[in-house]
Structure formats: structure tokens, C-alpha cells
């Protein structure tokens, strides 16, 4: 406690009360005062003394000054009460005022950021939309393709059926000495009486507009009209169904005027085949 006594006697506490002390020393004194009640008590005694000294030297200000000062304070008080009724001044003191310009800037930047995001989003949406359109187009194309291929497969299937089905009798018609390269394949169903021509197998010279090929069935040595057809375009596949016939020993094809003839022109025969 010797230290405390020496500290008190150093005179620093008097300077502290008089406000004649550096900020650093001030903190030191306040630290000491909070640690040692004697120092706190000493400071209070010095303060009271100086307070009395000031009272002893007091000068009563002019009476009208009282109204002036109270007026200026109470105007503020009125404002405080009007505008901050629900809030005590202590709460006010804890609010750190943000500089107004910074608040403005914040909204400015926020708005700019929002705008930028919006533009990026719109750009992205447009991109994705066009990609979606592309995909849809591709999808449609693929579906069309798929349907086409499925049709083709069905066609091939029915074509194959012609060969698989045992009720069909397949007949290869061969060229005559005049037309050695001509050939075609047809099938006749003895149950359903149908006659089908395998279009892909038809190898006949091109006919002009005035002529068509006519298929004949040979029934008991007599030719029976089975309908007319054109030499197929290259690479066409499929089956051409001709007229039906109950029984036949063979088939032949002749070149006739368009629409066909009642009787075959024998010297215009291109292929023939018999069972």
C-alpha cells in the first residue's frame, strides 16, 4: 500500500481532476482508481474541493440568460420527445450513423449489380431457348426419320412375307432370246389368289409414255389379263399387287399400248415363266 500512498502524494490526482494531464496518464489514473478504492476516494475528495472552490467563485449569470439557455435546451428536448418518443437517447447513442453518400452508393451498386445479373440471365435464356429450338427441330427430324425407317421396315417385312409364306408360289420370269437381260420375280398366292410383283426385281427396259407393260396369266394355254405396270425407277423397292387369279400355270409380260390390250401382242413379249 506504500505504492498507493506515494501515488496519491505524487500530485497526479490533482492534475487529473484539473484536466491537466495527457490522455495516456488519464487512462492510467482511471485504471488505478478502479483498482484501489483509496485512490478513488482521494479523487472524489479533490473533486469536491474544487467544486467548492468554484462555488466560492461563483458568479450569478443574468436572470434572462436562464430563459435563453433553458429555451434552447427545451427546444431540443421537444424535438427529441416529438421524434424519438419510443426510443431512449441511450439507444440513439449506440446507433452508428452511416455516411449518407455510402448508403446512396450501396443502392447504386446494388442496382447496377441487379441490372447486370438481369442482362446475363436474359442472354442465357435466349441462348438456351435457341438451343431448345434446335433440339426440337432435330427431334422432329429424327422422328420423321424413324417413322420413315419403320415404314420401310414394315414394307420389307411384307416383302419378305411374300417369300416366307408357303402359300405363295414364287416364280422367276426370264427374258426371251430377244430380251436376254430382262427378268422379274412375282409371287402368286393360291389361297388368297393374290399376285404380287417384287418391284426391285423388275429388270425391264424403260417404257415410253405410249406403252406399258402388261402382265398375263397363262391359264390352260390362254393368256388372262393381270393388269398393267411401268418399268420401275431405279432403286425403288416394294411390292405391286396385280389382279387376282384362281389358278395359273405361268405368267408372261408383254409391251402393250398404254392401258393394255385385250389380247397380248406376242411378238412384244419380254419375259415368261412357268410353274
Amino acid at each position: 500500500m506504500e505504492n498507493v500512498k506515494a501515488y496519491i502524494e505524487s500530485g497526479i490526482l490533482e492534475l487529473y481532476v484539473l484536466g491537466d494531464i495527457s490522455a495516456e496518464e488519464k487512462l492510467q489514473v482511471e485504471d488505478m482508481a478502479s483498482k484501489y478504492p483509496e485512490i478513488r476516494a482521494e479523487i472524489t475528495e479533490i473533486e469536491k474541493s474544487m467544486e467548492f472552490y468554484a462555488e466560492e467563485h461563483a458568479i450569478e449569470p443574468p436572470a434572462d440568460l436562464r430563459q435563453r439557455v433553458l429555451g434552447s435546451l427545451l427546444v431540443n428536448l421537444g424535438d427529441d420527445n416529438t421524434f424519438t418518443k419510443a426510443v431512449t437517447h441511450q439507444d440513439d447513442d449506440h446507433i452508428k450513423r452511416l455516411p449518407v453518400t455510402r448508403v446512396n452508393n450501396f443502392y447504386k451498386y446494388a442496382f447496377a449489380a441487379c441490372l447486370t445479373l438481369l442482362l446475363i440471365s436474359v442472354y442465357g435464356l435466349v441462348n438456351i431457348y435457341s438451343k431448345l429450338q434446335d433440339s426440337n427441330t432435330q427431334l422432329t427430324a429424327l422422328q420423321t426419320d424413324k417413322i420413315r425407317i419403320a415404314n420401310q421396315v414394315n414394307l420389307m417385312d411384307s416383302q419378305l412375307d411374300m417369300y416366307r409364306d408357303t402359300t405363295y408360289k414364287v416364280l422367276r420370269l426370264k427374258g426371251l432370246p430377244k430380251t436376254p437381260s430382262a427378268a422379274m420375280i412375282l409371287a402368286w398366292n393360291s389361297v388368297s389368289k393374290k399376285v404380287m410383283v417384287d418391284v426391285q426385281s423388275v429388270k425391264l427396259p424403260k417404257n415410253d409414255k405410249q406403252h406399258q407393260y402388261q402382265l398375263w396369266a397363262l391359264v390352260n394355254g390362254k393368256p388372262v389379263d393381270m393388269g398393267v405396270f411401268d418399268a420401275p425407277q431405279a432403286d425403288t423397292a416394294g411390292i405391286k399387287e396385280m389382279k387376282t387369279i384362281a389358278s395359273a400355270q405361268g405368267f408372261a409380260v408383254t409391251l402393250e399400248p398404254t392401258g393394255g390390250s385385250i389380247n397380248p401382242t406376242m411378238d412384244q413379249m419380254v419375259v415368261i415363266g412357268q410353274f
Binding site: G11, G19, E51, A58, I59, P61, L65, V69, L73, H89
Partner: protein
Amino acid sequence: MTPKRKISLSEEELILALRNREKIAVEALYDMYSASLFGVISRIITDEAIAEDVLQETFVKIWHSFSGYSSEKGRLFTWMVNIARNLAIDKVRSKDFKNQSKNHELENNVTFIDEQKNTVYKPELLGIRDLVSTLKPEQRSILDLVYFKGYTHVEAADELGVPLGTIKTRLRMGILQLRKHFNE
């Protein structure tokens, strides 16, 4: 010209009322401390109108920065007198004031003012007058320089031409003398 009814509260009551921003606190604050503060201000600023302005500024500042006061750090009056003294000294050192002031010798202000004004002595403090007269002149001059004029003790040592240690001792002895009488 003295107000008929003066409001007086205990320091604790006053601090609480000030915290709560009560109207009565403003009046009590003025009635209890205006004369003491005006005494201090008037010893720094001799121009009466300017001294009155500074007193008003002092109360406005006390009112507005009251949240900065903590009773743990000292008595209310010590805090207020520092505000009053700093405002008065700032005023004296400001350009305006220097231009218009009539160049009173600072050291003579205390006696000058006491001669000029009807200094109010409270009856219960009559004993202090004797005390002040029993304060040694060198103790009193240092107290007045530092307390009333806002001199630092270093400036006071210069002004009075005595060593720093002596200044500190005289300050302490003077205040001890005041305490002795105050406690009697």
C-alpha cells in the same frame, strides 16, 4: 434578479433525470451549476456577452454529449467544468475573439472580475472566504491559473518562473488546504 424558486436535486437524481431526458433535469442543471460554471467562464472571458454565449454553449454541449459522461470516472461537476473551460479557452484562442478583445492581462482577470461583479456567496460557504484568504498567495495563484485559466502546470511553471515540482507541490498543498476546510 435571482430566480424565485431554484430546483435542486441530489447528484444521483440529477444524473438519472438527465439520462431520461426529463424537463426538470434541464432546470435543475441550470439552477445548480450555472453560477459556478459562469464564474469559471467569466474568469477566462471578460466580455460579458461572450461569456454568456459560452455558458449557453456549455449547457447545450452538456445536454447533447451527456451520454459520454460516466459517474465511474468522476463527479458530474468535474466533467462539466472541463467542458465549460475548454469552450471558453477555445473562444479566447479563436481569431474572432482575438480581434475584438480588449487585451486584458490574463493574470489580472481574477481580481478584475471579482471587482467588477457582484460575486454571489452562498451563506453556507461563507467560511470558504476565510479559507481563500488563508490560502497562501502562491497556492492560490497556481490554482487560479490552472483551474480558472486553463493553464497547464507546465505553462504555469513558466509563467510564474518556478520549477515544475514546486508547482505540483503547491497545487497539492492548496487543494489539501481546501479539503481541510471543506471537511470541517
